[in-house]
């Protein structure tokens, strides 16, 4: 073949590849139905934005349209995997979207340490105790992020020990700090998610019971499994070659007698919301996930003790394992309810008060209202 002909064939190929790619992008999108939910990214996809003269003239429609096109692009998940693969395996970059992998375990870079925020966290707790809980026994525990169980790296982990020392130093003297780090290990957490595994929490429950004086140990737990469980980090990472987790939740004889009252979802009554397993975040199986105020009542316990837990999502899987020791546990998530509204919506009578947060909350304490 002459060079001229080779050049011509090459030019035709280039033009065809380009035109084909543009045509595919243009035609495939309207042919395929718009997706509503991304389970891998755990969010709702943008739908075609409504058009009006005002949103077009102020250009906000164009921004929304671009988001819509990005969300609904054909083979979006596959392309995200291509990007993650190129980034990790070709460019040898350490993270994608701030998420990184070590030995099949996915971690997230949690930003820089903010001591001001940590001190504000302690002050917030002190204020709540002064306002509502002068007579109760008050405890604080901070759950280490799973990255704390990796080899130390000043940039990839928050300084957990330093953080908890600052918290303790700024708490009222009569507030007891409960150390949890030694009760957990990397295996206590899901590989693809930020959360801890409920089946690994017995050492945590025992540590809490030792400090707080509630009794546990009578229930015989039976595990229930849900697989595959794709945790929140899985979608952020974008790689498809990571083994998903198996989610286990523990039931016991008498679990049906636990009365659950969710202020936001009055219809929900069980400890485990099994419909949540098929939802965007299977971890919502534990007490139906995020909610401002939720109460567990244990009719089998007659010690008259009540526990109030100020918490984030970690407590959803822990609280069912503590109910054995209390007649009533109330979970309050200050990310979703103002502190000033507590008296209005929460029964604040409690013998014990536990502030239980993952380490990200003290470092971002402005999340607490």
């Amino acid at each position: 073949m002459s060079l001229k002909k080779v050049e011509k064939v090459k030019n035709i190929a280039l033009a065809a590849v380009f035109a084909g790619a543009l045509a595919c992008g243009l035609l495939l999108h309207p042919l395929l139905p718009d997706a509503v939910v991304s389970y891998s990214e755990r969010r709702y996809y943008k739908q075609f934005p409504k058009m009006s003269a005002s949103v077009v003239l102020n250009a906000s429609w164009m921004g929304e349209f671009e988001t819509y096109l990005l969300d609904q692009f054909p083979m979006r998940d596959g392309l995200r995997s291509v990007k993650a693969g190129a980034l990790f395996y070709t460019l040898c970059q350490s993270d994608n979207n701030g998420v990184y992998v070590k030995d099949g375990n996915i971690f997230k870079m949690n930003g820089s340490y903010k001591e001001d925020s940590v001190m504000r966290f302690s002050e917030k707790l002190n204020t709540l105790v002064d306002t509502y809980f002068k007579k109760a026994s008050v405890y604080v525990a901070v759950i280490p992020d799973k990255s704390q169980y990796l080899r130390p790296h000043a940039h990839l982990q928050l300084p957990y020990d330093e953080m908890t020392a600052v918290i303790q130093a700024h708490l009222h003297e009569d507030i007891a700090y409960i150390p949890l780090k030694d009760t957990l290990s990397l295996q206590s957490y899901y590989k693809t998610d930020v959360h801890w595994r409920q089946e690994s929490l017995m050492p945590v429950v025992e540590r809490l019971s030792a400090y707080m004086g509630f009794s546990v140990g009578k229930n015989a737990y039976q595990p229930h499994e849900y697989a595959p469980f794709y945790g929140g980090y899985y979608g952020q990472l974008g790689l498809s070659n990571i083994t998903p987790d198996t989610l286990r939740y523990l039931s016991w004889d008498g679990i049906d007698e636990i009365e659950v009252n969710d202020i936001e979802h009055p219809g929900l009554t069980g400890v485990y919301y099994e419909k949540g397993l098929a939802g965007m975040d299977a971890y919502d199986v534990f007490l139906n996930g995020a909610t401002p105020v939720l109460t567990l009542k244990n009719s089998r316990c007659t010690n008259g003790k009540g526990l109030l837990v100020f918490r984030d999502s970690f407590a959803s899987s822990l609280a069912p394992l503590m109910i054995e020791g209390y007649e009533r546990i109330t979970l309050v998530d200050l990310r979703y309810i103002e502190s000033s509204l507590l008296e209005e919506y929460v029964n604040l009578r409690a013998d014990d008060v536990l502030f239980l947060y993952g380490e990200l909350i003290p470092n971002n304490s402005d999340l607490l209202k």
């Binding site: 250009a59 671009e66 993270d95 974008g238």
Partner: protein
């Protein structure tokens, strides 16, 4: 609308290309004009009228100048045209800056209008000014066809971020251009290459410089590396955009001028600026520097000319004092290079001359980077070890390790090495090169789309200028 968006790549471009190649020769400019106005409207709905005003103003002024060539009226028309363009720039780009300066100097409190900067205003006003000036200088004939004139001003490939295409460059092509398979294929290759530069390299280097200059875990090495990454980011961002613009121009039968010629291989600061944003440099040379007397004047006047040109170049890049300082800094180092250092430096080995040029250029980019997280003054002082910063910190080590290959690719990509390798392959293994080219372009396109789909909306840096 930006080229590296899904809306452009998979909605706007295929539709416009299809319609453009379906209609007859006479309708092609109309298609391009409507598409260009839509393109601009998508990003700046309300300011699209400015484009129309600019096109009409220079169209009418140029016709008037040509009809009264050699008279004082022609001169007045030229002044009037320049005033209209500078007014557009002054009101929409410099009003806050000028009023702020007046408020600062006179202790007044004149309210700032806070007008949003119309995308690409610096590019299209400079293009239209060059057109009218060239008509006045009798270097170009006034375009009698309003459609052709408006197509030139609004042409979407170079509308919002250059290259600054002078009318004389495309005057013939506006009315009579060839559409060949060879031109189309070259356009495709150039466009995809530019897209890759922007999305894969510029954005990654931008992320790296952002991390290293955000003040978290700062270190001396981090500030140097962050500044170098920023410099490469700007280069790949802008030269990538220019590549895309030149490539798109070819798809529609236009030949736009080159805008970059591997500036990082320069052996002097003057050479760097001859290779960087060449269409802006030549614009200032032809329409400001030479009319001021250029270098054919006494040294003090020549230094003054340089100061004026570079202060204006700085202001062109942004209505802020750091850009003025950046321009003046370059004027001073270029003057010193020409008057004092040049003779000494010329005797140095090539590698030392490159290091010398890069050092001064790097420092200029510190001043240029007004958006650095910790502020450009802190970056500048920190780079030289003041402020008690460690030589290296854990975040610096992490990001340099993580982005090592991106940096290596960036450095190699900023030199002619890849181009030379491609040329050699084409000569020695033409069939292999012919097979590889579409395959690599295809792979690059897939990778770009994958990065776009996973990433957020990434506007071009040069849009704000």
């Amino acid at each position: 609308m930006v080229f590296s968006s899904i809306a452009f790549l998979f909605v706007f471009l295929p539709v416009v290309l299809s319609v453009y190649y379906l209609v007859g020769r006479k309708a092609k400019n109309a298609v391009l004009l409507v598409a260009s106005l839509l393109f601009y409207f998508y990003g700046e709905p309300r300011y699209t009228v400015l484009l129309v005003i600019s096109s009409l103003s220079d169209y009418l002024h140029a016709l008037y100048i040509e009809n009264r060539r050699g008279t004082k009226r022609a001169k007045y028309a030229l002044v009037s045209s320049i005033v209209v363009n500078l007014l557009l720039l002054g009101v929409f780009k410099y009003a806050d800056f000028l009023i702020g300066a007046v408020n600062g100097a006179l202790q007044t409190s004149i309210p700032l209008p806070h007008l949003r900067l119309p995308i690409g205003i610096s590019f299209f006003t400079f293009q239209t000014m060059s057109y009218t000036i060239d008509v006045y200088r009798n270097k170009a004939h006034a375009q009698k066809n309003l459609l052709s004139m408006a197509t030139y001003v609004c042409l979407f490939p170079q509308l919002v971020a250059g290259p600054i295409v002078r009318y004389v460059t495309v005057a013939d092509e506006l009315d009579n251009r060839a559409h060949t398979l060879d031109g189309f294929a070259k356009g495709v290759r150039r466009f995809i290459l530019g897209l890759g530069k922007k999305v894969l390299l510029a954005n990654s280097l931008g992320a790296l410089s952002g991390e290293l200059l955000n003040g978290v875990g700062s270190s001396v090495m981090g500030l140097w590396a962050g500044t170098l990454a920023f410099m490469l980011q700007v280069y790949f961002d802008f030269s990538g955009y220019s590549d895309m613009a030149i490539g798109l121009g070819r798809l529609f039968g236009f030949g736009f001028p080159e805008n970059f010629d591997y500036p990082f291989i320069s052996k002097s600061i003057s050479e760097f600026w001859r290779r960087w944003h060449m269409t802006l440099g030549s614009w200032f040379r032809d329409y400001v520097y030479i009319p001021l007397g250029g270098n054919r004047v006494k040294p003090p006047r020549w230094v003054f000319n340089l100061l004026v040109v570079w202060a204006l170049t700085g202001l062109w890049h942004g209505a802020a004092w750091n850009f003025v300082m950046w321009g003046l800094y370059l004027a001073v180092v270029i003057s010193l290079e020409k008057l004092l250092m040049g003779r000494v430096v010329e005797k140095w080995p090539a590698i030392l001359r490159r290091v010398y040029a890069m050092l001064f250029i790097t420092l200029s980019f510190v001043i240029f980077n007004a958006d650095a997280g910790i502020g450009w003054k802190n970056v500048l002082t920190g780079m030289f070890g003041t402020g008690g910063l460690p030589v290296v910190s854990a975040p610096t080590a992490y990001y340099l390790k993580s982005y090592a290959l991106v940096c290596v690719l960036g450095v190699i990509g900023a030199t002619p090495l890849i181009k030379k390798a491609a040329v050699t392959l084409r000569v020695r293994q033409p069939i292999l090169a012919a097979v590889l080219e579409p395959v690599l372009c295809c792979a690059l396109m897939v990778l770009v789309v994958a990065y776009l789909v996973d990433g957020s909306f990434n506007p071009f840096l040069y849009f704000r200028f």
